[in-house]
Every structure is written in structure tokens, then in C-alpha cells.
């Protein structure tokens, strides 16, 4: 792994890091990946079929709450009270 890989990753997960911390992280990533790489010793024939039975469990969206029931409580948590007419205000996206 190189510093540009760390830069790519922090952009992907949208975390701002200082240059010093990127360097520090590079060493730590090597250490953790070096440790977890032991699983490569295990030979597995077919990843796809052996990857397991986990699946999503969905439920019907029945008996929804009345509209607006929790709006005030939820909007009260918006940083800097950045709300208007029951909505959260965000900066321009496009």
C-alpha cells in the first residue's frame, strides 16, 4: 500500500486526514493487513458457492406511524437547527 492508496480510501469514505496521519495510517494498515492475511493460507475451492447463507430478512411495511408524529423530535437533533418547514436544509448538491 502507498500513500496514494490511503488518499483514495479517505476520499471514498469521506474522512479528512492530515498528511501526518496519512503516513501513520499507512504503517498501521500494513500491520493490520499483515495480520489478517493469514486467512490466505486456507485454500477454498469455490468462493461463490461457499460464501454462505446470510440473506436479508424483509418485513411488510404495515401500520405506518401517522405522518409528522416524530418530526419535531427528529428535527430537534439537526445540527445548528438547520431546518425549514419540516425539512432538513443542505448545501447545493448539483
Amino acid at each position: 500500500m502507498e500513500i496514494k492508496d490511503i488518499e483514495n480510501l479517505v476520499n471514498l469514505c469521506r474522512i479528512e486526514l492530515s498528511e501526518d496521519e496519512k503516513k501513520e495510517l499507512l504503517g498501521e494498515m500494513d500491520s493490520v493487513l499483515g495480520f489478517v492475511d493469514q486467512i490466505q493460507k486456507v485454500k477454498i475451492e469455490d468462493l461463490k458457492t461457499e460464501a454462505g447463507e446470510l440473506r436479508n430478512i424483509m418485513r411488510e411495511d404495515e401500520n405506518p406511524y401517522a405522518g409528522g408524529e416524530f418530526t419535531d423530535d427528529i428535527l430537534a437533533e439537526v445540527p445548528d437547527n438547520n431546518t425549514q418547514d419540516g425539512y432538513v436544509k443542505v448545501k447545493k448538491i448539483l
Partner: protein, 474 residues
């Protein structure tokens, strides 16, 4: 009157409140008076403790009191209580007030339990020492120079130091059992799906479970029985009817066999911890348990599997903290900068590290080599345990290879810290229940430090853990 908090149990407290020996308000006050800020077990003490206890007293008067009515509890501060600050040990949630109750809290409110405060934890439960908390480290009950363990260190110390009678924690890789062992109390990680996680701040959703801390096994069972059960708000919870049917079929009176994975206990364990473990086995033999050596051929990979899958899940779960709807926000020039600055400043070091590691593991080109491979290994480890549990009733290991370590002593290499989870992670990987119970003391720097015995049982066999713990401790 003076209440002897050291020897108090839920049943004793209940009987005393019923008989009028003391009120729930007096009991809560006794615990509040006993809070030692130096230990830093609590991030916040609730301001309505006496109000809650007053309601409990009314239930004793009108005859509707249940076993947990008026019982003072400490709650890990990553479990939501409506209207209370729930920080998850992070700066990013410093001022976040929960907008709803976690399901476990709804259940405990219904029986009238009293919540003393929110306890300290490693940020988002990322750690084994509470050193990663944005609110300072929690000190060990037995030595102020040492860590409380983690991530539920605050809950463990609150119970061990009599600042609450019982507590709730969460366990993703050992976060209930390890601090229980470091502070000489009991901690139960419940079967995956037996206790709802709705309202618990998510870390690794295929591992996380909520469970109790207590000073005796009876209290563990009382709290567990109250919080367990199906919940439509957590689709991973097990269906009530079928689950209970299975549990009722368990034969608690038969002669039980204990499995010891000796091949996994060869290195990395302190000599006196191992000696204590041998004594524990001997003790159970004397109590009539059969002991058998077992093989778990792939358990050695469980820590690596955990440190691949867990950060992957963390990176997905923590993407919600973006400064838009709740929590901390740091303004930038545009929306993308808002995100970058909010996360960069709001998250602590270990949390940032885990998100970035998880992002790497899930990124194109690495997903098969890490994530998928670890998933396959997880199934293989699960099958190893199934086979072992067809030969023995429970499996025993020490809870940790060493007692509580000195604050700051693990240095900067994250792997050194991760290695301490070696015995606890496997039951999160597999999903079976496991308990840590106090097994004695070892001496370090002239101080006696508690250590724990870990007992692992098959899925839903919590009652077997209770029985063996009871036999061991009585």
C-alpha cells in the same frame, strides 16, 4: 438505614423494598452517593434518577412491583434512552439526544427498573480498554493505573464498584466478557438474535449483541430473561414460539461434559492465568463434570476473520454520521467538504482507522480476497463448533490471556490490542452465547487483579451457562 451494597442482589433488594426496609429512592440515593468520579465509569448521570425511583416506590405501594422494579441499573452509553444524551463514546454524538427508546430499554422501563446513568465505552465500542473514548479512560476497580477493559468498561466498573446493582453492555468481539473479567464480575454475551439490538448504536451488525453485567449469576439471569425476545424492530431476532420450545427441551439435570481446546491454549497465555484455568477445570471435575479434550481446527483464524468482517460492517454502519440530520457538524465550503470535515474531526483515531480499513476490504479488487474469504471461513469455524458441541455440552477457555493491563501500555500498534480478544471473538463469529465468570486473582506489581473463566455453549443454551456458572461459583 445503611444499605450493604456489596452483598446486595436483585432478589434481596426486591424483598427489602417490599418489606419497607428501604425505599427505591433510598436505594438509588445509596448508589448515587457511591459514585466515584475518579474511576470515570459514567459519561453522564441522569438528572431524573430519584423521579424514576419515586415511580418505582408507587408500584411497591400499589402492589404492581416486579423483580426489577426500583433496581438501579447502569446503561452503556450506546443504548438509546429517549431524551437522554447517547454519545456512544464519540465526539460526533456529543450532544445527540436519543429520539426513541431501545427495545431493551422499553422492556426495562415496563418493569420499572431505574437508570442511573450512561456508562463510558470505547468510541462506538471500538476497543478493549475504553482508552478510545472521547470522554477519557475508565479506571480499573482493582488498580487505578490499569484499564477497566472494554469496550463496555464503564458498565463493568459501575457494577464492580457498587455504583449500580446491574448493568447493560454490548458485545461485538468480547466487549462484555473482557471488562467483566478485568473487574471480577460476571458478563453474558447472549445468543445472536436472542436480544433485540433496536436502539443500540450499530457497530458490526452481524456480531453485536446486548447483554447483562452482574455480581452473581441469579441477577444475570433475571436481567437476561427481561430483555430477551423477538422484536419486529430487529429482523435478526429469533421467533419467540419456536425459540422457547427449543429452550424448554434442554436437559439441565443430565451429567454434562466440558470440552477443552488444548491445542488453542499452547501459547500467548500468562503462566498464572493458565494455572488458574487448570484449577477451574479441576473444580468443575470435582463437582461432577466430565472433561474432554476437543479440536476446533480453524478457531485460530477467528481473530483474523473478525478483524476483516467487523471493520467492513463498521464502514457501512458509520457512514450515517455525516453532520446532516444529527450529531456533530463541521462546516466546509460545499457539501462534500462538510462530510470530510465532520467525519475527520468528529471521529476519533481508532474509529477512523476501522472505517478506512473496512472501506479497503470492501473495495473493488479486494472484496473476494478478504470479505468473501472471511465469510467462508466464518462458516467453516461455525461448523467446527457444531461438531464440537455434538461431543461436549460446553467449551471452556480463559476469558483473556492476561489480566487488566496498564493504561497506555499497549502502544501504537493496533494488532497488539486486537490480540487480547483471541478467546472472546469466536463466539461473536459463530453467534453462540458465552459468559465470563470470576475465577480468581493473579498478582501484578503487588496488586491482586481478577481474571475470568469463559464458558461457551451452543446457540440458545444460556440456561446451561447459568447452571454451570452457579455450580462453579457456589
Amino acid at each position: 438505614m445503611v444499605i450493604d451494597l456489596k452483598t446486595l442482589t436483585i432478589k434481596k433488594a426486591h424483598e427489602a423494598m417490599k418489606a419497607g426496609d428501604f425505599t427505591a429512592q433510598e436505594l438509588a440515593q445509596a448508589y448515587l452517593d457511591n459514585i466515584n468520579p475518579e474511576l470515570n465509569a459514567f459519561i453522564l448521570i441522569f438528572d431524573d434518577v430519584l423521579e424514576q425511583s419515586k415511580k418505582a416506590d408507587e408500584r411497591f405501594k400499589n402492589g404492581t412491583a416486579e423483580l426489577l422494579t426500583g433496581i438501579p441499573m447502569a446503561i452503556k452509553n450506546n443504548i438509546l434512552i429517549k431524551g437522554k444524551r447517547t454519545t456512544a463514546g464519540s465526539k460526533i454524538l456529543e450532544n445527540y439526544k436519543a429520539t426513541y427508546d431501545a427495545t431493551v430499554i422499553t422492556k426495562l422501563k415496563k418493569v420499572g427498573a431505574v437508570f442511573i446513568g450512561g456508562t463510558n465505552l470505547d468510541e462506538f465500542a471500538h476497543g478493549s480498554s475504553t482508552e478510545n473514548s472521547a470522554y477519557g479512560v475508565t479506571k480499573n476497580t482493582y488498580d487505578l493505573e490499569r484499564v477497566a477493559g472494554g469496550s463496555s468498561g464503564g458498565s463493568a466498573v459501575a457494577v464492580a464498584s457498587d455504583m449500580a446493582l446491574v448493568a447493560l453492555g454490548s458485545d461485538t468481539g468480547g466487549s462484555i466478557r473482557q471488562p467483566a473479567s478485568f473487574n471480577g464480575i460476571l458478563g453474558l454475551k447472549t445468543t445472536y438474535g436472542r436480544v433485540s439490538r433496536s436502539g443500540a448504536v450499530a457497530m458490526g451488525s452481524s456480531f453485536d449483541q446486548i447483554g447483562p453485567f452482574a455480581k452473581n449469576i441469579e441477577d444475570i439471569k433475571i436481567v437476561y430473561d427481561c430483555i430477551k425476545g423477538e422484536d419486529k424492530m430487529d429482523s435478526t431476532t429469533l421467533k419467540n414460539g419456536r425459540t422457547e420450545e427449543l429452550e424448554q427441551k434442554i436437559d439441565l439435570d443430565k451429567k454434562m461434559t466440558i470440552g477443552i481446546p488444548r491445542h488453542f491454549l499452547q501459547e500467548g497465555i500468562d503462566a498464572d492465568v493458565m494455572e488458574n484455568f487448570e484449577e477451574s477445570i479441576k473444580k468443575l471435575k470435582e463437582k461432577g463434570y466430565e472433561v474432554k479434550e476437543i479440536e476446533l481446527p480453524n478457531i485460530k483464524y477467528s481473530l483474523a476473520v473478525y478483524y476483516i468482517l467487523m471493520p467492513a460492517e463498521v464502514s457501512a454502519n458509520l457512514s450515517r454520521y455525516d453532520g446532516v440530520r444529527f450529531g456533530f457538524k463541521k462546516e466546509g465550503e460545499n457539501l462534500l467538504e462538510d462530510y470530510m470535515k465532520t467525519k475527520g474531526e468528529g471521529f476519533g483515531k481508532e474509529t477512523r482507522r476501522r472505517i478506512i480499513l473496512g472501506t479497503y476490504i470492501l473495495s473493488a479488487g479486494y472484496k473476494d480476497a478478504y470479505y468473501k474469504k472471511a465469510q467462508v471461513l466464518r462458516n467453516i469455524i461455525r461448523k467446527d463448533f457444531e461438531k464440537a458441541f455434538s461431543e461436549v455440552d460446553v467449551i471452556l477457555t480463559p476469558t483473556t490471556p492476561s489480566p487488566a493491563f496498564v493504561i497506555g501500555s499497549k502502544g501504537d500498534d493496533p494488532v497488539q490490542m486486537y490480540l487480547g480478544d483471541i478467546f472472546t471473538v469466536s463466539s461473536n463469529v459463530v453467534g453462540n452465547p458465552a459468559i465470563s465468570i470470576p475465577s480468581g486473582f493473579v498478582e501484578r506489581d503487588g496488586k491482586n487483579l481478577p481474571i475470568g473463566l469463559q464458558i461457551l455453549a451452543p446457540h440458545l443454551y444460556e440456561d446451561v451457562l447459568v447452571k454451570i456458572s452457579d455450580d462453579f461459583l457456589s
